[in-house]
């Protein structure tokens, strides 16, 4: 993956395939204290202890179209490469909580990339999913909540390509300006 935002998209795709109705993305960047933490929390079906022990193994997958499941293990490798680590907490019917930690200034840390595009892509494919996206940079936080956006949309679905694209531009402008 070229960017951390692509890993995040990949993990959220896992969440939606696990039946999540709510996903929370929490990103905290601190240049002063040299850390970057990404948390993805869902209320999907979760995993039992046996599955959890295998989930970071790239040769384990619950899918039947192929024999590898490299998304989480690639994300973990990205964290390890940048002086951090990745942990997964999960329980059946209680959802999953993925936390990835990075050294902010590590030379091998991937750039955060285009989070607006990741959020838009998730919206397009999951019109009923509620997303809360919190992104703090040096203590200054941006919050995007689909429930707030949905309240002004009327009969139009949040996944309408033109509306989703417009929301993407607004998030992008916010993150570039601030």
């Amino acid at each position: 993956m070229k960017e951390l935002s692509l890993h995040i998209l990949d993990i959220i795709e896992n969440s939606t395939r696990a039946g999540a109705k709510n996903v929370e993305i929490v990103i905290e960047e601190s240049r002063k204290e040299d850390y970057l933490v990404i948390e993805i929390i869902d209320d999907g079906c979760g995993m039992d202890d046996q599955t959890l022990t295998k989930v970071l193994n790239p040769f384990f997958t619950t899918k039947d179209v192929r024999r590898v499941g490299i998304g989480l293990s690639m994300f973990r490798q990205a964290a390890l490469r940048a002086g951090g680590d990745l942990t997964v907490r999960s329980a059946p019917s209680k959802g999953t909580h993925v936390t990835a930690r990075f050294k902010y200034a590590h030379i091998d840390r991937q750039p955060m990339g285009d989070m607006a595009s990741t959020i838009t892509t998730v919206l397009i494919s999951n019109p009923d999913l509620e997303i809360v996206y919190r992104h703090a940079v040096d203590g200054d936080q941006f919050v995007f909540d689909t429930r707030v956006v949905r309240s002004v949309l009327g009969d139009v679905t949040i996944s309408s390509p033109d509306v989703a694209r417009f929301i993407c531009d607004i998030i992008r402008a916010r993150q570039n300006l601030d």
Partner: protein, 127 residues
């Protein structure tokens, strides 16, 4: 930075009012961008970005867009499947932003398959 402002929400509402993509509307075509790990790593999100941009730029309002997981053809990613009303689905492989724009305009909007980018015609489910 904070939350979305009232002004930003007002703009979103105005955009939604101009949209004809009502909830549960049936489009004349559906484009499914494959968004498995292999697709994402190969550029599927950029393909999705280009698709949304082209839909907005050309004012196309009756094409549905969604995503799916890995279809098991990872070496052909990024891929997308186009289902045009009344025709069998067509899988397109090794997509780029330029290719998806042409597929949108020729296949999804007008019903003419772009043969040179097509990998297969038929069911989404691989056996």
């Amino acid at each position: 930075m904070g939350k979305l402002t009232i002004e930003e929400l007002r703009k979103i509402r105005e955009k939604a009012k101009r949209s004809t993509n009502l909830r549960d509307a049936q489009g004349k075509a559906k484009i499914t961008v494959h968004m498995g790990t292999c697709g994402i790593a190969s550029g599927a999100r950029e393909v999705m970005d280009a698709l949304l941009d082209a839909i907005d730029r050309y004012g196309i309002r009756d094409v549905l867009v969604t995503t799916s997981g890995c279809a098991g053809l990872c070496s052909h990613e990024p891929m997308a499947t186009v289902e045009y009303h009344g025709s069998p689905p067509v899988k397109y492989a090794k997509l780029t932003p330029e290719k998806i724009e042409r597929i949108l305009l020729e296949h999804a909007d007008k019903g003419h398959m772009v043969e040179e980018y097509a990998l297969a015609i038929g069911s989404e489910k691989m056996s």
